[in-house]
Amino acid sequence: MVELGINLPLLIAYLVTFVILMAILYQFAYKPLMGAMDQRTERIQEGLSAAERAREEAASSQAAIEEQLNEARREGQRLLDQAREASQRFRESEMERARQEAEAFAERARADIQRERDAALEDLRASFGDLAITAAERVIRRSLDRQAHEELITQVLEEGESLRRG
């Protein structure tokens, strides 16, 4: 033991030296430097994930913008279609209305014409009776026989009839 150099106080001295060395290193080197290294790692990790997040955000906002654009385009198309359809409908309804109006107008005009004609015919017939009587008076005054008289009246009536029909 002695030849080898084993010595109890020395052993204890080495143990104490080692423990003190470890304590000092722990307090002034390991702890602060490991803390700083961890902090840096954390910081870098954070930076990386922030960059990743920003990239993702940019990508997603790009997609959102694209989507919005598409939406707007679709909306515009829809509005355009709607307007076109509305104008089409409006035009058709207007045309229909115009046609109906025109028809109504024509109808009324026709009815007016008919009424005018009927009135004219009535007038005519009335005046024709007068005319016939006048003619008859004139004929009578000219002394006519009975037969001629009859024929004349019939003829006049037939003429009047055909007149009414025509």
Partner: protein
């Protein structure tokens, strides 16, 4: 390119000086002095396994054999050496010369003195503290060069631990494992970086010119068996502590495996035997830890001293390179084995 040419010239000059020193070293070294009969540059070194005390001086005197009768003894030794000069020179290679000159009394088991190994352990600890505390002082978010160096060393040790234990455990055991690593490493290297101090300064006898070094002021702490033993105890206690902390009292089941026998299975006898083996291997780790480091460091020191003795001046540069590597390897092994034993202690129940 004048600077390139100048650099080349300087290199050539340095190489020539190295070769000259090598040849001179060979001539005045132990081998050359035998071959050419030149005077030896260095005295034959004495190898002591126990560390030499350097403080207090009374302990130095006792251990080196100084005393009231020391001078007389020295004179006597000189006379014998003079008288037996030719045979002494002849037997120098066999390590017998100067045996009486190097009588050295090691410290008793419980006798305390500050030894050269303890001093160099303190110097190494101081260097470690300076290095790492300065490196960690600023804690800058964007580290400078020095902080980067220290951080990359930490990161290296931490990733080494992670490869064995996993990140979480490696972090929690980092202070102990890293301190073991740095302590072993710096203690192995401190003597190499303090070569002039290590090789030339210490207690001895004689004047400035015929100085005979008997006790180095600095001697790598790994060559003192107490330092590896202390580290081995730290490692052992640490491993057992983690084993108990993780597995509770169940940790002792692998040493005292009575479970199967108590249930009446005869295979329990084997378990008990395995448990005894586990216990022995657990305790033997302390010894193997101690003597692995002690042996490597001591062998390195002896190699450096012997090469310096055989061929002084520059030949030991290669040994220094080797010793740098050995120091690093021993540090890695000490820390690595601690990690491995930790992982064995912590994960024992799982397989």
């Amino acid at each position: 390119m004048p600077s390139g040419a100048a650099a080349k010239r300087v290199m050539l000059l340095a190489g020539l000086v190295m070769v000259a020193l090598l040849i001179a070293g060979f001539v005045v070294g132990a081998i050359g002095s035998q071959m050419f009969g030149t005077t030896r540059f260095l005295a034959q070194p004495a190898i002591h396994l126990p560390p030499q005390p350097i403080f207090p001086f009374s302990a130095v005197k006792t251990s080196l054999g100084y005393g009231s009768d020391y001078e007389a003894k020295k004179e006597e030794a000189k006379e014998t050496a003079d008288a037996e000069h030719p045979p002494a020179a002849e037997s120098g290679d066999h390590g017998e010369g100067g045996e009486e000159e190097h009588h050295f009394t090691p410290l008793g088991v419980s006798q305390f003195a500050i030894t050269n190994t303890l001093l160099s352990a303190w110097v190494a600890s101081l260097v470690i503290i300076l290095f790492f505390v300065l490196g960690a002082r600023k804690k800058a978010m964007v580290p400078g060069r020095f902080q980067s160096l220290v951080e990359s060393i930490f990161e290296g040790v931490l990733s080494f631990g992670s490869s064995v234990l996993g990140r979480d455990m490696a972090r929690r055991t980092f202070p102990v494992v890293a301190t073991i690593f740095f302590f072993v490493l710096f203690n192995a290297w401190i003597a190499l970086f303090l070569v002039p101090l290590y090789q030339a300064v210490g207690f001895g006898s004689g004047g400035l010119w015929d100085f005979e070094l008997k006790a180095h002021l600095i001697r790598p702490a790994g060559t003192d068996v107490n330092m590896p033993l202390a580290l081995a105890l730290v490692s052992f206690v640490f491993v057992e502590y983690w084993g108990i902390r993780t597995l509770g009292l169940g940790y002792f089941k692998k040493f005292f495996a009575f479970g199967n026998l108590l249930r009446g299975r005869p295979s329990g006898l084997i378990d008990i035997f395995v448990g005894i083996l586990e216990l022995i291997s657990e305790l033997v780790r302390i010894v193997s830890f101690t003597f692995r480091l002690f042996g490597n460091m001591t062998a390195g020191e002896i190699l450096v001293v012997m090469i310096t003795f055989l061929v002084p001046f520059v030949a030991n540069i290669f040994v220094f390179g080797l010793e740098l590597l050995v120091g690093l390897i021993q540090a890695v092994i000490f820390a690595g084995l601690t990690l491995v034993f930790l992982s064995l202690a912590v994960h024992h129940e799982e397989h």
